[in-house]
Symmetry: C2
Subunit: 704 residues, 2 copies
């Protein structure tokens, strides 16, 4: 499942890899969000388009379809972003929200206990009263987009050194966001697009009272497990349903998708609206080599380490298995995704193709008197890669749930003494509500798992820096990594949200006076964490300025009708429903329920290929011809999980949950020869509610 990339500015301390993992593993790339397609010649239906800049001419000329303002507005407002890192949509007037099981699983996990494992067993509320409130979920509905490029750039003069430019830009963005929030009451985020070529203000209506309505069992949501992940044909019911509330009542929703009667036909053009997390298509070949030879191998070492650690923890017993499962799945998923990316980059054809296009562009730039200064930008990018390697090793990471809480409390107390625009981005006023929702979440924290994770992170820090390094000595305090973790996790009270509230309310004095061992650790390493962040920001600013020049060169040589790289903000992709060929074998576009039962049979005795009891019992009730999954050529990536797939009439026909293995290089190149987006078919959701889960009442609400 394509959950690699999820990151939002105010997001922290949510569960899975995509947050803890990616904020650690992928943030350098994310911070350096450079955005924009480097290859002026689009392939077929390539593109993750801005909602305020759709490729109207292309759609008209190629597909005979012209989206108007009303169409795109309805589409935009029917979509929902899950801030844990996924996409979703409204599917009823009474607040039903459809997303993937693997996007909702963060909440399923937080709602589960030793006695009720909703991730594994599924859940169904037969009345609104039975719906379960998520402890810390924030959903965002995009309301409007405006261009603030000029305002942002005015803050940065060309003579500022990169470090200062980064601070000035951050402050200006903070001012814009605060003013917009104050004026509108909406969540207001300034988004960097086209590698700094554009800055847009995205304003969202927030929903923070979100309740679980239905989730199937993990055994059908993730049927085939790690083995089938990223494969096709697939047979997964990777779906679940929430409901948003306002004033303790189901919210009344104006913009939602109708439910298609039959889903899409083969070759039908469909649209995917969601929040792709990150692409790197503008990357220069030097930046790609850094990814290939340094960044991804480094990340994979970390991912495999964590995967084994969690497996070992899960071996201790069934309850440990339950506690570790969600994170473990996240790491397995990330490992498979990164492996696919790396294998793509190691194919000489990929970088070779990029290099040829780059050389053509460079030749044009150098031979054009008004552009030739831009050529230096490529060298800037090449040079900064070396700093990134050093920074990978240098950067301190102790991120567990509890340490992140401590770090947030410590930094918040210090940052709040400054005016909002001068603070680190996540502590500015505009994001405070979202921050508090996470920080004071009542989601359970498991100290046994926390101890294992913190112990390993301290050990890893010692391995990377050498255990005699002064920072390590400071962290270890004369003990071994495992002893130190046991002592700190044993002693901290930060697992109690009331304790957090008290410390937060007490500000700097409460921090100074706290004897909590994790608060003391966060204070001890605060200087180091801030220094790391400063270097990250400086590198990001250098890249932003260089890529802005590369983007400008592209605009001026190849026209402006291009899409920016993904930034976990709303985009539209599209393409026909279409099978493909692998090794001379045809892979059909659709799978069905009969095939699902056959798939179980074909993998008899294999773990993760056992259908849940509910499906076995419904075998004679649910039609075997009900479509299960399908593929289309739409250009998606991690973060798109949970995206609605709709037809031209804006009826929901599917639910994105994965890309196939051939699409895993989508971070760098779009490929519609074999690369495919994989969706749950709308009929599978409707019919399983009707025939498997005895929830016709819920099926009847879909699209109404």
């Amino acid at each position: 499942m394509d959950r690699r990339i999820l990151n939002t500015q105010t997001l922290f301390r949510t569960q899975a890899i995509f947050v803890r993992g990616v904020s650690m593993l992928a943030l350098i790339a994310i911070v350096a969000t450079v955005a924009f397609c480097s290859n002026g010649t689009l392939k077929a239906d390539e593109g993750m388009w801005l909602l305020n800049n759709l490729p109207v001419d292309y759609l008209k000329n190629t597909h005979g379809f012209t989206p108007d303002q009303k169409w795109s507005q309805h589409l935009m407002k029917s979509c929902v972003r899950f801030n844990v890192g996924g996409s979703a949509s409204f599917v009823s007037s009474n607040g039903l929200v459809l997303t993937n099981h693997h996007v909702g699983s963060d909440t399923l996990y937080k709602l589960s206990t030793k006695e009720n494992n909703y991730v594994k067993e599924g859940f169904l509320a037969r009345t609104p009263a039975e719906e379960l409130k998520a402890p810390d979920l924030e959903l965002n509905q995009l309301i409007q987009i405006s261009d603030v490029t000029e305002k942002v750039n005015q803050a940065v003069t060309s003579d500022l050194p990169a470090a200062e430019a980064a601070v000035a830009r951050r402050a200006r963005i903070g001012e814009i966001e605060s003013a917009a929030t104050e004026e509108s009451g909406l969540r207001s985020d300034v988004v960097t697009l086209y590698g700094g070529g554009k800055y847009h203000l995205y304003q969202y209506k927030k929903y923070t009272d979100v309740r679980l309505v239905w989730a199937p069992e993990a055994a059908i949501a993730f049927f085939g497990g790690d083995a089938d992940n990223f494969e096709y044909p697939r047979f997964n019911l990777d779906a679940c349903i929430f409901r948003v509330y306002e004033n303790d009542k189901p919210a009344t929703i104006k913009h939602f998708f109708k439910w298609s009667d039959d889903g899409p036909a083969e070759d039908e053009l469909v649209f995917v609206a969601g929040n792709p997390g990150r692409t790197s298509r503008i990357f220069t070949t030097d930046a790609l080599r850094h990814q290939r030879d340094v960044r991804i191998p480094w990340s994979l070492d970390y991912i495999r380490r964590r995967e084994i650690l969690l497996q070992q923890f899960a071996l201790e017993g069934p309850e440990q298995d339950r506690i570790a499962r969600d994170q473990l799945f996240g790491f397995q998923n990330a490992r498979k995704a990164y492996m696919g990316e790396l294998q793509g980059l190691q194919d000489p054809a990929l970088i070779g193709g990029k290099a040829a296009a780059e050389q053509r562009l460079l030749n044009e730039v150098k031979s054009n008197p008004s552009l030739k200064d831009h050529a230096a930008a490529w060298q800037v990018i090449a040079d900064v890669q070396k700093r990134k390697l050093a920074q990978l090793r240098e950067k301190l990471s102790l991120r567990t749930d509890l340490f992140e809480i401590a770090e947030t409390l410590v930094q918040m107390a210090a940052e709040d003494q400054k005016p909002s625009p001068r603070r680190l981005a996540r502590f500015q006023d505009s994001g405070r509500d979202s921050l508090k929702q996470k920080l004071f979440s009542t989601a359970p924290i498991y100290k046994n798992l926390e101890q294992v994770l913190l112990g390993d992170l301290i050990a890893r820090t010692c391995e990377i820096r050498g255990a005699d390094d002064p920072l390590c000595q400071k962290i270890l305090d004369g003990k071994s990594p495992l002893e130190r973790a046991a002592e700190m996790i044993g002693g901290t009270k930060l697992d109690d949200p009331e304790v957090r509230k008290e410390i937060a309310a007490g500000g700097a004095a409460a921090i100074a006076g706290s004897q909590d061992p994790l608060i003391r650790l966060a204070v001890a390493v605060d200087e180091k964490l801030r220094a790391d962040q400063k270097i990250s920001e400086e590198i990001a600013e250098i890249e932003r300025q260089a890529y802005a020049r590369i983007a400008d060169a592209l605009f001026r040589t190849q026209g402006t009708s291009v899409y920016p790289d993904a930034t976990f903000t709303m985009r539209l992709a599209f393409g026909p429903v279409k099978g493909y060929q692998v090794g001379g074998k045809s892979i059909r576009a659709f799978t069905d329920v009969a095939g699902t039962f056959a798939h179980e049979l074909n993998h008899a005795g294999q773990k993760d290929f056992v259908l849940p009891e509910s499906w076995k019992q419904a075998k004679d009730k649910i039609p075997g011809s009900t479509k299960m999954n399908f593929v289309c050529t739409a250009d998606i990536i991690g973060g798109n999980s949970g995206s609605p797939v709709v037809n031209q009439e804006l009826e929901l026909v599917g639910l994105i949950f994965d890309g196939n293995i051939q699409s895993l290089t989508a971070d760098y190149v779009y490929n519609d020869k074999q690369g495919r987006a994989v969706s749950v078919h709308s009929n599978a959701i409707r019919d399983s509610l009707r025939y498997v889960y005895d929830a016709r009442f819920l099926a009847d609400q879909l699209g109404k």
Copy 2:
């Protein structure tokens, strides 16, 4: 299970991690075999003693037992070394050999097919005719030891640079071995002891017709799986029985162990005779820091990578699972062992204690006019660690079964053109029979697994060196790592032993004329592999010379009654059968059959905690009071797996199969407070043959 370290000079291409894994991961440390206890003050029953230099006075004074010449000769000749990396013993006059299931599993794996999975299902031959011949097993029985220190050292004058000294020493050792083999007909190995302070010639009778008699199911041999590995209390029947043949008949054995009637009593002194693989107790603190901060983390990254890769391969189906299982177990085991080592090294108390002893010794050395030149040795060791870090990254490794075959054929053809003593060690005449037995083994090679492993090794090489590196380009030949591996493994015919024989017989001309893609690859990288080996030898020589001076300083300040570090040659350890305390809780020395069934019940529903059908059916037959496993304080390490545990009367009372988790720092320090050697009780073997496996005929042969 303590199988970390297994390596012999002529050993290659056997299956498990200990060979492929360790020859890649641990060879640097092994090549640098520095041997000798750095701390003159022995703790309690510390020590892995040479059979020709037993601590007679200590045994007499502390335990009131005086081993005589007859005793030690009978002990020595009753023991057997498994060249795949374990220990064993003769237990009957008609050739029965007892070792661990996990030592025999290499052969069980090679004998298994899709239809007959002996690793999983076990095996029993009811008649000699049913015994299964191992395709490439070599067992060694130590016959005599002689001191050749002077002969070896005469070859190396003090003015020789390290690289030349290494070559001269290797040549001299080759001459000694060849002459001894020729004269005696015995396998003759010169062993470096006390870090180069001593060289002993070990002469072995070889058994190469070895047949499988009995093995239990993996479910009881490895009951509790990865979760219970290195834990105690334990309940494992980690045993299997082979028989050696001569002239196609069961060999008549003069020296074998009698079988004890009741096994050992609590607190009884027992003896462990076997082949501990490697310890590093002489290491200076700089060398320990290298282990802690560089070497072990590097190895663990590799191990985790391979572990995940094999897990993924096994997910593809039941047959793939069978094929991958043996290697997977090896890597899981190594990972857990290295983790324990690393955690020990990261405890400041360990290196702190070593540093204090080192400082005391250094002070003595510096204040003694006849020794003060020796102080420079510590600096030499410190300096050479930096080269080891560079070499870790620099060294090429493409070792899969098939690539190793290709590499061996290529190097053998070239080396055979030189006189034997000038060849690389493993191609000298004295080891040729052993080399051929491995090279022409009929053990199956699975191309699907080979392809995955080679693809990953090529990818890893690209990650480490950068894919644009000239050596990578040479290996890749314009393709991606996975494509290249598919092409080469698909095209090679080296999986056929007849093809190997033909190429080997054809010598250099056959290599030059071969179009086999793996032969061509081995030729292409031969220069690099030889350069790597040269650097390894040079580093080893530098360390040998420096540690020899440190050893000399120790001898001269603290006396000579010390044992050398382990070198996978025969040693005697001893200590009482004794429980221990953990966190205020008493761990009893013995477990029993009733506890085994209870252990299954306590872990109901957990993978690897399900007893095999045979045990369930025998529950009412085998006495619940039969002892299952026990612990003693003997000083052991990886390589000791399969060692006989005997009493003063030289009756077999147990079978070493593991160390507990508290013993995992034994590479660096002995610890008898909590560290324990874990054995299968002799009664468990006898009674399970009688009552579970319906093999009273075999039980009746034990000790007779």
